[in-house]
Symmetry: C2
């Protein structure tokens, strides 16, 4: 771990992250509250269920998954976090993390000590507003996902998911047509409430139909419109 100066200003996703909308002087203060950055490797966890809330985290590069554990011990993946996204917000309720965050790839993380963020937010209204904004969008992201799981069929869910990933990659300056799926088929299936076999079969069918090309984790979307049509024009997921 190392102290990072100018962390936010040099970060390509700051406009998607906590600093969005802050002025230069405010950014200075946020950067000085930012403790350190850390790097996780595939499979390493950032926090697990029950850990006390010490910090919020921002993904700087790479990809994380978050999951909750059902009473039966079965993992349910809640989301995949790309650069610019905040992690740990669910811990604000009871001061303990309610889910587990694991790296799916080598991932750089900014650590935001909660006490400092909280103090700073009390002084900087625009920071507090941005924090609320991010929490609000996490709430509505989950609402969209609920709608997806409750009343769409498997292929619609998978198509929405790929479309959503595509959009997020292009928002971050990467190609929305060709990208790497950081997660395994198992993880996609779990996230979308289906089995690995159904994921595999559906992808194979789309490949046969010329909608996509997929080889291991490398995905090319050949017909974005076709995919969106299957998704029912809904980009949740």
């Amino acid at each position: 771990m190392e102290r990072v100066r100018q962390a936010c200003r040099s970060c390509s996703v700051s406009q998607l992250c906590l600093p969005a909308g802050l002025e230069a002087s405010e950014l200075d203060r946020l950067e000085s509250a930012l403790e350190k950055k850390m790097t996780l490797h595939r499979g390493e966890s950032l926090y697990t269920v029950g850990d006390p809330l010490e910090s919020l985290f921002a993904v700087r590069s790479g990809c994380m998954k978050t999951s909750v554990l059902g009473s039966d011990g079965v993992e349910q993946i809640i989301g995949f976090a790309l650069p610019g996204e905040l992690l740990g917000l669910d811990a604000l309720s009871v001061e303990r993390h309610q889910c587990t965050a694991v790296a799916l790839d080598t991932t750089a993380i900014c650590v935001l000590p909660f006490a400092r963020i909280e103090d700073l937010a009390a002084e900087l209204p625009s920071l507090n507003r941005q924090l609320l904004r991010i929490m609000g969008s996490e709430i509505s992201r989950e609402q969209d996902l609920l709608s997806l799981l409750a009343n769409k069929r498997a292929s619609e869910r998978l198509a929405s998911f790929l479309d959503n990933l595509s959009k997020r990659f292009s928002d971050r300056g990467y190609s929305g047509r060709d990208f790497r799926l950081y997660m395994s088929r198992q993880e996609m299936a779990n996230y979308l409430g289906m089995t690995i076999e159904t994921v595999s079969r559906t992808l194979s069918a789309w490949q046969r139909e010329g909608l996509i090309h997929i080889e291991s984790k490398a995905l090319s979307i050949l017909d974005p419109e076709g995919l969106r049509a299957i998704a029912g024009n809904c980009v949740a997921g």
Copy 2:
């Protein structure tokens, strides 16, 4: 609509609501920011998708449902709000409501003008903290619901739902064994991602087995343990 003085202090659910943890002087200021209260009748809506964010709302008595509209126009119910619960948090992301809130019964609502709450939160750290806490618990509530929808079978979902309602009623000082289901079978089914027929069949089966007694909307839980066993000891829903 009328101005309400001492709104929070006289409210039986204030400890579940925004004022939780506030000192007397802070409570004064919150109450003076609280604009008015209003009453909705069954079927009336508090806000709908796209309405600009003007206020957050707290349920004082009665029951509300919130739902999002899929791209295909299909309603997906996201939650049922009981007294003490806050509504409108999803609007903080884009300053517009992302879902619709409709009364399921005659319902009293406290209106919290967002601009005033925001200003006040900047001055009262404990209020801001409580707002974040409530948003955090909404996030984890939805996470639990995701887990329920993605990998539980219909009967487990329904049992979890009833168990969760039971718990919330008893938290509010009502009986957790005998209570009125404010929502229709159709609304339960929609919320839990199943059909009305499956809800009906499952309830009938449990009635036959002596787990519950249900007549129209009046539910008695005869065997809470049995119900919880079906739910797999998970209280999400």
